[in-house]
């Protein structure tokens, strides 16, 4: 606090703390907590409601019987015993009416029931989609790394400055073009009557159902997110002193050893960031499967989440699905940080 207060004064320090608080608590932490909380309860309408209405009906019947008893009692000759009996019956009726009112209130506003049901109803089919999404995202990440590492190294260390600038431009342009349009370009290629099937048709191969088989989603996803691997790796390799590479070469290290022992250790934070970004974007992508499957192939996990929220409007189950995805991403982030031995400070740069 000290340095902050000294350099900015009490007024601005207060403003800064307030703004940060709004952001950290009001925009980051609270929404996540509410989502998680919501994923752990269900509003039990279906099962409980039946039980409650049966109980209400039974109470009404009992009251009717009591009223008969009361009229019977009123027909007796006036006596203190008769009055006591009537008063007793009235008291019981009043009790039952209170109970009915209570049950009816519960019937209209169903109670929150905390349970793991939102998670356990995921079932085999949805679990399979989740596993497929995670595995496919890992595959996208690996492919992106294999393709992008040489490119990042080439731009940072091999190309002449002029050439590097042109290659850089060639990377930035596709990177900056909207994700949807890049996916759409592949839709045109892999469509039933797209470019790929046209070319295959020329050599006599019948139309291949790229989109329906789910291959289209994967191909477009690699294309859409591959460049998120290039720039972080490039940024770290660029800071590597070229003399180190030369020294290794002069000492007789073969190329793969130079990369394994000199370049990659230096580029670790960049590789970690690239992997995290590529994985997170793939696993959390809604755009790519939305456009590439057109409802014909097996869905991506994000589409299940969307359907829970906006089609079957089951927000509690949707929250559970969303939280499952979030946990998968957090686990991935920590795994990568462990694997590359980097911390969050190195990552966000």
């Amino acid at each position: 606090m000290n340095r902050l207060l000294r350099s900015l004064g009490p007024v601005m320090t207060t403003v800064i703390v307030l703004l940060s608080g709004v952001w950290v608590v009001g925009m980051i932490i609270a929404p996540q907590l509410i989502m998680v909380e919501q994923s752990f309860w269900t509003k039990d309408r279906s099962g409980d409601a039946v039980v409650i209405s049966v109980r209400i009906d039974r109470l009404y019947n009992e009251i009717d019987v009591l009223r008969f008893d009361k009229t019977d009692a009123e027909a007796l000759a006036p006596s203190p015993r008769r009055d006591a009996k009537i008063a007793g019956i009235e008291a019981i009726i009043a009790d039952k009416q209170v109970a009915i009112a209570d049950l009816e209130a519960r019937e209209t506003t169903p109670e929150k029931v905390y349970s793991l049901r939102n998670y356990t109803i995921m079932g085999q089919a949805h679990l399979a989609v989740f596993v497929k999404t995670i595995l496919a995202s890992v595959a996208v990440t690996l492919i992106a790394f294999v393709v992008c590492y040489p490119m990042a190294y080439a731009v940072a260390k091999l190309a002449t400055p002029g050439k590097a600038a042109i290659i850089m431009l060639g990377l930035i342009i596709p990177y900056a073009i909207n994700e949807l349009l890049r996916v759409f370009a592949w839709l045109m290629i892999l469509n039933h009557n797209g470019v790929a099937n046209y070319l295959l048709g020329l050599i006599g191969v019948g139309p291949v159902p790229f989109l329906e088989s789910g291959a289209g989603v994967f191909v477009a996803m690699v294309y859409a997110y591959i460049l998120f691997m290039v720039f972080p790796i490039y940024n770290t390799i660029e800071t590597l002193d070229t003399a180190q590479i030369e020294a290794a070469r002069d000492l007789g290290a073969p190329t793969w050893q130079i990369h394994r022992r000199v370049v990659m250790p230096h580029a670790k934070p960049g590789i970690a960031v690239g992997c995290i970004m590529t994985f997170m974007l793939s696993a959390g992508s809604y755009a790519v499967p939305y456009i590439m499957t057109r409802g014909t192939a097996e869905p991506w996990f994000t589409q299940l989440i969307y359907n829970k929220f906006f089609e079957s409007s089951n927000w509690n189950t949707g929250s559970a699905y969303a939280f499952t995805l979030l946990v998968a991403c957090i686990v991935f982030v920590f795994l990568v940080m462990r694997m590359f031995n980097v911390n969050i400070k190195d990552i966000a740069k």
Binding site: R3, S7, L8, G9, V11, I16, L19, S20, W23, V24, M27, I28, A30, P31, I34, M35, V147, P150, M151, L158, T160, A165, I167, M168, L169, I172, I173, P174, A176, I177, N178, E179, L180, L181, V183, F184, A185, W186, L187, M188, I189, T242, E246, T255, I276, L281, G284, S285, A287, R294, T302, I305, Y306, G318, S319, A322, L325, C329, K345, I347
Partner: protein, 275 residues
Amino acid sequence: MTAVSQTAVGQGSRLVFNVYMVIFFAYMFLPLILMVAAGFNDFSTPSVTVWRGFTLKWFAVLAQDSRMWSGLVNSLIIAVAVIAVSLPLGLAGAFLMTRLESRYRGLLYGVMVSPLLTPGIILGISTLIFWRETGVSGGLFTASVAQATYISSYAMLMFMARLERQDITLEEAAMDLGASHIQVFRRITVPFLKPTILTASVIAFLQSFENYNTTIFSIGASHTLVTEIGSRMRFGLTPAVNVIGIIFVAVTILCATTYVIFREREKARAVAVRG
């Protein structure tokens, strides 16, 4: 540098490298070229395999598309709101991170950058749920808030990078000479941050304008240009979508070229200064 790369790479690997470059850039650009070409094709669905001649009519079709125009207006409204929210939040966060001396700083930093590592759809959903609790349903407001959650993180990182290079003695000298905190902030800190304010605004605008995943989960029944493009790609595909692609590609090439030229100049200047 040139000499190094000549000696460091043999003839064989140079060939491999060149082939790799050609394949990589063909992979990157051919799909985009096909998409652009289909925008000029006089055929009712986006295609390059069935060529019916060159036309500009899809530009006219797009110009009359009212939903696209309203989407554009919504996108601009959200982008302006996001800039107005995420720059102050990011700057506040950056001040805390560079000037707060506390052992919770690391944890706080982790929370502040966490939106960048969270899938966009989850930011969208959690914002929607949070605001529904207070009675606000999905729309431009929730979309702006959801986007600002992570765009503030970008702004914070940019401001942090700048503040870390700040010469703090300047502020201290001004204070010794009797300037108030507000004066120091206005006359020294803000001018120092100005270039970053500009770049952060541009980045925030682009991030917001281009966003799909966070927006589609938080915008409710409303739409932006990009979410509208998304639904057109799935339902009622016409070459008007390709025309949007052409416009995006043209604007992107223009901006990227400007950026790279600017960057190269900065680099050259830095080298010149270092001697």
